[in-house]
């Protein structure tokens, strides 16, 4: 290069005689320096392990925040055709597993699901095509049966669904009171399920053992989810529908007629489960005095905590740790003799103590559980699910068992082996929407990206307002509140396109669009993306 005397630089032309780099460093493929390379691996959030249906919760929350409601609905419905229902009645096992729980409080997933579920009511699912000549019979039109039919129909199978009652829905339509689950919501969700097509509904068909045997011959597979059909009663009590009623039957009457007339102002309900609390609260709404008598203590009784709390707020008296020893019908009503209970054994047998108490009441309602029709359970080669198989459980557990059965049936009919995605967690999703089965623990969350923020406060109708009607108790949070809550989600193990990896990549090798792409020609393998990813989506693997 010709030397230039600085004093003689007077024009642009002279400047060009200085050494100037004009090409790009992109000729250096720095990717060759690398020993480790980043890989995009979506994993499992603890909430979705908690959820019996294993819903990909972070994913639908992500689409909600992206204002892509249709895809949020799609993700949610992929695992659970009852989002609006579950957004109301599900005890949300997911929330008890939330990584945020011990940080600043679990994300209020229930209300987010309810919000997306309510939107989903207006979005009928796409029609499914018939892909198989095989036919499946589903017995029982409750959440388990409907869920099984839904997934079979989506899988291209034709389904004949049999239901004893005049409407589909089982407990959703005939059991859960309107203040917990408005009838319109459940009805609309069932309509949406039927929109998928391929499902032929047969109402008013009472299926017994012989009928199941017959179905087994005529169909390629049979799924039975009849629910629990018979009331349990204590040995010394008989339901006479005059002084002693069945809680289930009354709930059904209330759901069908909107009201029930009982002759008496002082009502006692026997039982400590959700049904006991449901019937007690429903009757309280007719202005009666209601007692609940249960064997367990109030804290250990099996009903949901919200139910107990709200029942007491509504003025229901709980007489706990009491066993109904004797009952006398007098002309003034019922005379109950109650014994104290020390504890309740696992087989629901009480250990009594010497305490004796007497109580007068006008009417006794029995809601201590139901049993199933045992004879059907013996039939081989039939799939079972729902409460019928698992005992009294929640709606989401029924949905999950229906879903698993549907995929088990499809695998069997296609000659494949049905495999859970993880045996220990009993994890099963309808789609393989993750790259590695690894549950993200709290330690894997990069907490620096999340400041502490308490969950939203829910507004509830005041007790004195709600005892006059069957309106929903938890009011719909505003859109702003829902979005604020959705933003709290750590999105454990699921990419939400936060672009943290992109921001901190010193080599401009990351492109985030739906998922993360790496430019391996230039990536030096520093691993900052993997370390900074707030949710553990990027792994460093040895690069050979």
């Amino acid at each position: 290069m010709e030397s230039v005397d600085y004093q003689n630089v007077i024009s642009d032309k002279d400047i060009r005689r200085f050494p100037i780099s004009i090409t790009t460093t992109e000729v250096n493929l720095t990717g060759s320096w690398r020993f480790y390379k980043p890989e995009f691996k979506e994993k499992i959030s603890p909430c979705s392990v908690g959820c019996p249906a294993n819903t990909n919760i972070p994913k639908y929350i992500h689409y909600l925040l992206k204002n892509d409601m249709d895809r949020a609905v799609e993700v949610l419905r992929r695992e659970n055709p009852f989002p609006a229902t579950c957004g109301r009645v599900c005890p949300h096992f997911c929330q008890s597993k939330c990584n945020r729980k011990d940080y600043d409080g679990a994300v209020e997933i229930k209300q987010i699901e309810r919000f997306v579920g309510d939107y989903a009511l207006k979005v009928p699912p796409k029609k499914a095509k018939v892909l198989s000549s095989k036919k499946v019979a589903v017995v029982g039109g409750g959440p388990a049966g409907l869920s099984c039919a839904y997934f079979l129909a989506l899988g291209g199978y034709r389904v004949d669904l049999f239901e004893k009652e005049r409407f589909l829905g089982g407990l959703l339509i005939y059991g859960i009171p309107d203040y917990r689950l408005p009838k319109e919501v459940a009805t609309k969700e069932i309509e949406n399920i039927l929109e998928v097509g391929n499902i032929n509904v047969n109402l008013g068909v009472d299926v017994n053992k012989e009928k199941v045997e017959e179905l087994k011959k005529n169909y390629d597979a049979v799924f039975v989810a009849l629910g629990l059909s018979e009331d349990k009663t204590p040995g010394n009590v008989a339901i006479d529908n005059e002084h002693v009623f069945s809680g289930y039957e009354l709930l059904k009457e209330i759901k069908v007629n909107g009201r029930v007339d009982l002759d008496g102002d002082n009502i006692s309900v026997l039982g400590g489960g959700n049904v006991a609390f449901d019937i007690a609260r429903s009757i309280r709404r007719a202005g009666k005095d209601v007692n609940i008598i249960c064997m367990e203590t109030l804290e250990t009784s099996p009903a949901f905590e919200d139910e107990k709390k709200e029942a007491i707020e509504e003025g229901i008296k709980v007489v706990d740790s009491r066993f109904l020893q004797n009952l006398k019908i007098t002309d003034r009503g019922l005379h109950l003799q109650l014994r104290g209970v020390d504890k309740v054994l696992d087989n629901y047998e009480p250990v009594l103590n010497d305490y004796v108490e007497y109580m007068d009441t006008d009417i006794l309602i029995v809601a201590i559980g139901r049993k199933r029709e045992e004879s059907i359970l013996g039939i081989e080669g039939v799939f079972f699910g729902g409460d019928f198989y698992n005992g009294a459980k929640t709606v989401i557990e029924a949905v999950a068992s229906g879903k698993k059965a549907a995929f088990e049936i499809m695998a069997k009919l296609e000659g494949k082996e049905f495999k859970l995605m993880n045996e220990d967690d009993q994890f099963f999703r309808s789609t393989d929407d993750f790259d590695e089965y690894k549950v993200i623990p709290f330690e894997r969350i990069n907490i620096n990206y999340f400041s502490e923020q308490k969950p939203i406060k829910l507004s509830r109708l005041a007790a004195n307002e709600r005892v006059n009607n069957f309106n929903e108790i938890v009011m719909k949070p505003s859109l702003e509140k829902i979005l604020r809550e959705a933003k709290r989600c750590f999105s454990c193990g699921v990419c939400n396109e936060c672009k943290t990896c992109w921001f901190f990549c010193p080599d401009m090798c990351i492109d985030v669009h739906e998922k993360v792409d790496f430019d391996y020609s230039f990536c030096k393998g520093c691993g900052v993306c993997s370390e900074e990813c707030p949710r553990g989506v990027i792994d460093m693997v040895e690069d050979k």
Partner: protein, 290 residues
């Protein structure tokens, strides 16, 4: 900070010669995102003179002048005045110097430019030693730290030069400390520096994985830990206003956690760590943070 709102435009090319996990490369990338294409970088000898590529390649899409070690601020003053003469007042002339070119060798030119209130931005990316020549100690090396010239640790009496206050004493338009581990703070400070007129100085803490003896993946984490432990305080001073601490952790992490996460401090005994903790506490107390 919502990273989705950060511009996608890059002013740096791939294939630069920064080590994996380099804090300086990352800082430049984001500084240019704020400063934009109307920027000219003046660069004394430093790691970045290597990072920017060998002739005839360039890692930056904005003009960059390589200048002798001691002259960055002086050259930048000249360049800015030339632009002004040519009517191109809106060009940001930025000195991008390492700690050697700022704390030691470039200090005289820096002081001169600050004193003359030259209209330039001086960015010191501080990796706390002469890294590219082989990790020799500088006056920015913190007490206790290992370097090749302080094999038993930098003596505790060699307190790191307080560059923030040295520059503040010249009463310039804007002085700040920042690190890319705090993106919000980093962007706001560069935005402020860009919009102010007069001499502006930004002291960046910038992790050096080989020199600090850390895993390259931990570079951002280590910078963050420096702030969380109070070793590096994020603050700023605008002309005519008091010094303001821009980020204060809810609770300072013990300095031990910061020190022992790095190989350059691994020889420290408990006693030394306690002494260092006391020094940091005194500094934090003087800023009213403890």
């Amino acid at each position: 900070m919502d990273f989705r709102e950060v511009t996608n435009i890059e002013y740096m090319n791939q294939g630069d010669f920064a080590c994996p996990g380099c804090g300086a490369g990352l800082s430049m990338r984001h500084a240019l995102k704020v400063l934009g294409d109307k920027t000219l970088i003046v660069m004394p000898a430093s790691c970045w003179s290597i990072i920017s590529g060998v002739f005839p390649t360039a890692a930056l899409q904005v003009p960059l002048m390589h200048v002798p070690f001691a002259t960055a601020a002086a050259v930048a003053s000249g360049v800015k005045n030339a632009f002004r003469k040519k009517g191109q007042e809106d060009v940001n002339v930025v000195c991008w110097a390492g700690d050697g070119g700022t704390f030691d060798i470039g200090l005289q030119a820096l002081s001169g430019a600050a004193e003359r209130k030259e209209d330039i931005i001086y960015v010191c990316y501080d990796n706390e030693a002469y890294m590219n020549t082989g990790i020799q100690r500088s006056s920015a090396t913190p007490p206790g730290a290992w370097t090749t010239t302080t094999p038993t640790g930098n003596p505790l009496i060699y307190e790191k030069k307080d560059m923030f206050n040295i520059v503040v004493s010249h009463n310039p338009a804007y002085v700040a400390t920042a690190t890319i581990a705090y993106p919000d703070d980093f962007y706001q400070k560069f935005e402020k520096a860009k919009n102010a007129k007069g001499f502006r100085f930004i002291h960046l803490l910038s992790a050096c994985p080989p020199g600090w003896r850390i895993d390259s993946k931990d570079s951002v984490k280590t910078m963050r830990l420096a702030v969380e432990s109070g070793v590096f305080v994020l603050m700023e001073k605008e002309q005519g206003k008091p010094t303001k601490v821009t980020y204060k952790p809810d609770r300072f992490v013990p300095i031990k956690e910061y020190l022992l996460s790095q190989g350059r401090y691994k020889h420290l005994d408990k006693d030394t760590i306690n002494k260092l903790q006391i020094m940091i506490n005194e500094h934090l107390a003087s800023l009213g943070l403890l």
